[in-house]
């Protein structure tokens, strides 16, 4: 409830997207707030990934706008999204396996002398600082990220998003390919980002994790938002019913928001 009184950091208005005849998203309206974890939950093909790809600038919407601050955009490119403070940790992490940890964290924004010669020392010391801030332990910053574990790779991708100056960080299935211990670490990481006042958007399949971490849940079904509710006001089985489309959607929406 308290969210309604604050200004959203990003607003998605009437967004629609089709792939040929298939309507991936229709008329999506969503607000994203700082200092909050918003979970986007839904079955395969519900449109979660399409939604975040549009937000990250990797895809263009057919209709609708994205409002950041007082500026209205009909489409974003990856570099524009990053400039606006919207960073994404993709499910595939978008890491360059052959480059080392520091190079990946700084990919696209390497500190350089004369705009050309990369300042490797600065890259390493800054990387170490950020990774320490995230309480991530990666012993050798010179090793190619292809040699790291799943959790460490996730950490590198998160560190990059923070370095891009993200105010909104979107996570696409952050725990999908992880063991229990590593998932727990990632969840702690998300909570830390929220404490630091960032807006965190998490796409997840894992209902248990969604309830553990999120402040609000946005349930998607067939390219539409089935409900947006505060996590504390809803029960897991109600979410399942929403996803299956078995009960009166409006009732839950009213109860949640």
């Amino acid at each position: 409830m308290s969210n309604q009184k604050r200004e959203p950091i990003v607003r998605i208005v009437h967004l629609s997207k089709s792939y040929g005849n298939i309507k991936a998203l229709s008329n999506i309206n969503l607000e994203i707030y700082s200092g909050e974890i918003l979970a986007i939950f839904g079955d395969n093909g519900a449109g979660k990934s399409t939604l975040i790809k549009i937000l990250a600038g990797a895809l263009n919407a057919d209709q609708g706008t994205i409002v950041v601050g007082d500026k209205i955009y009909s489409s974003l490119s990856p570099s524009k999204a990053i400039r606006l403070g919207i960073s994404t940790v993709y499910q595939d992490l978008a890491l360059v396996d052959c480059l080392d940890v520091a190079s990946n964290i700084f990919l696209g924004r390497e500190p350089a002398y004369a705009g050309f010669f990369v300042d490797k020392n600065k890259m390493e010391s800054e990387s170490r600082r950020v990774l320490q801030g995230l309480e991530l332990n990666i012993p050798n910053l010179n090793s190619p990220v292809g040699l790291l574990s799943g959790g460490q790779r996730q950490g590198v991708a998160v560190a990059r998003s923070i370095f891009q100056g993200g105010k909104v960080i979107i996570f696409d299935e952050p725990t999908a390919a992880m063991g229990l211990q590593e998932s727990a670490k990632v969840i702690k990481l998300l909570q830390k980002l929220r404490e630091e006042g960032m807006a965190v958007v998490v796409i997840s399949h894992n209902l248990h994790h969604v309830f553990e971490i999120s402040d609000r849940i946005c349930v998607m079904r067939h390219g539409q938002i089935a409900a947006i509710c505060e996590t504390k006001n809803i029960l897991p089985n109600q979410i399942v019913e929403l996803i299956m489309g078995a009960t009166n959607i409006e009732a839950y929406a009213a109860a949640g928001v």
Partner: protein, 325 residues
């Protein structure tokens, strides 16, 4: 044995260069035992002179292959740029300007390769196969198929001159090699060259103008090919429209032998230089030993195949490479 195996399968970045260095050393020992002439300075001058040309072209090729691409048009570019220099000089243009024109022609061909590959997202093999033929055709049309010869001394100096015990092609090669190593290892362009080969989509999502960098890489390759054209034309005092025949294959062979991954993402200028030296030494050694040139072709082909098999088997076992999809 365990250690040998570990060296073989783990992600030791310098493995290829270490192995290549050993092979190089063994080759020197064997050839110097086989022929007393091999270790003389005259002979080494010969090897370095021959290798210089290959190094110049292979450095540009290293950049292209690091992006996961390929450039089959380098031999044709060498011929075209030589022809451009020749035509310009015969039209009364000064030597310096003629050289500049020839190199610009090479850069433009490289740039159009890069544009087609990055902007239109076409396959590098097919694009450069096409430009290989187009550019060769252009060189033949300009010369009507007849070699152009007879240039000022200031021009032929670039092929035959003397700078102390060395000659200009060697110095060009050293300069290009140092510049190449500096750019690949220390600059944004070098980082993005490797990232283009490693994960182009990640680079795009990081907001890097990936297409511009790809275009720059192919332009670099065009420039080094044109420098190769300068050396060939000056050395022979002739601009031959069929010059640079099969240069592309020699360059690709040297790059791969030097440990640069054909899939992109990993590459080494040092490796390329060592491979050029090894190939030059082998050609020279086999000639000194009076082995017929047919067998030379065979031997060099086998060495390249073995090199690819070794590097491929090793990469297949390296953990960093499996996740790369």
């Amino acid at each position: 044995m365990q250690q040998v195996k570990r060296l073989f399968v783990t992600g030791n970045q310098n493995f290829s260069q270490i192995l290549l260095g050993l092979v190089l050393l063994i080759t020197v020992i064997v050839l110097s035992l086989a022929s007393p002439f091999f270790l003389t300075w005259d002979n080494w001058r010969n090897i370095l002179d021959q290798s210089a040309l290959q190094v110049i072209i292979a450095i540009g090729m290293t950049f292209v292959i690091c992006t996961g691409g390929i450039d089959l048009s380098v031999g044709s570019i060498s011929a075209l740029s030589g022809v451009c220099m020749a035509v310009a000089m015969h039209a009364g243009v000064s030597v310096e300007l003629a050289i500049l024109l020839g190199i610009t022609a090479g850069a433009l061909v490289g740039m159009s390769n890069g544009w087609l590959i990055s902007q239109l997202n076409l396959n590098p093999f097919i694009v450069t196969l096409g430009t290989m033929s187009v550019v060769r055709g252009a060189a033949l049309i300009i010369t009507t198929g007849i070699p152009i010869y007879g240039f000022p001394k200031a021009f032929t100096w670039w092929g035959n001159g003397h700078i102390g015990p060395l000659n200009p092609p060697m110095l060009i090669a050293v300069f290009i090699a140092l510049l190449g190593a500096l750019v690949l290892n220390k600059t944004k362009l070098g980082y993005y060259t490797l990232a283009l080969g490693g994960n182009e989509e990640a680079l795009r999502r990081s907001g890097v103008a990936h297409k511009v960098y790809k275009l720059m890489v192919y332009t670099i390759c065009g420039i080094t090919a044109a420098l190769g054209g300068l050396v060939v034309t000056a050395r022979l005092n002739t601009a031959e429209p069929l010059a640079g025949w099969m240069f592309e294959l020699d360059a690709i062979a040297a790059v791969v032998l030097g440990g640069t991954d054909m899939k992109g993402g990993r590459g080494s200028i040092t490796g390329t230089i060592m491979a050029c030296l090894l190939l030059g030494m082998l050609r020279n050694g086999l000639t000194i030993l009076n082995i017929p040139s047919y067998y030379q072709q065979l031997a060099i082909g086998i060495i390249i195949l073995v090199a690819i098999i070794v590097s491929e088997l090793r990469l297949r076992n390296a953990p960093g490479h499996q996740k790369n999809s």
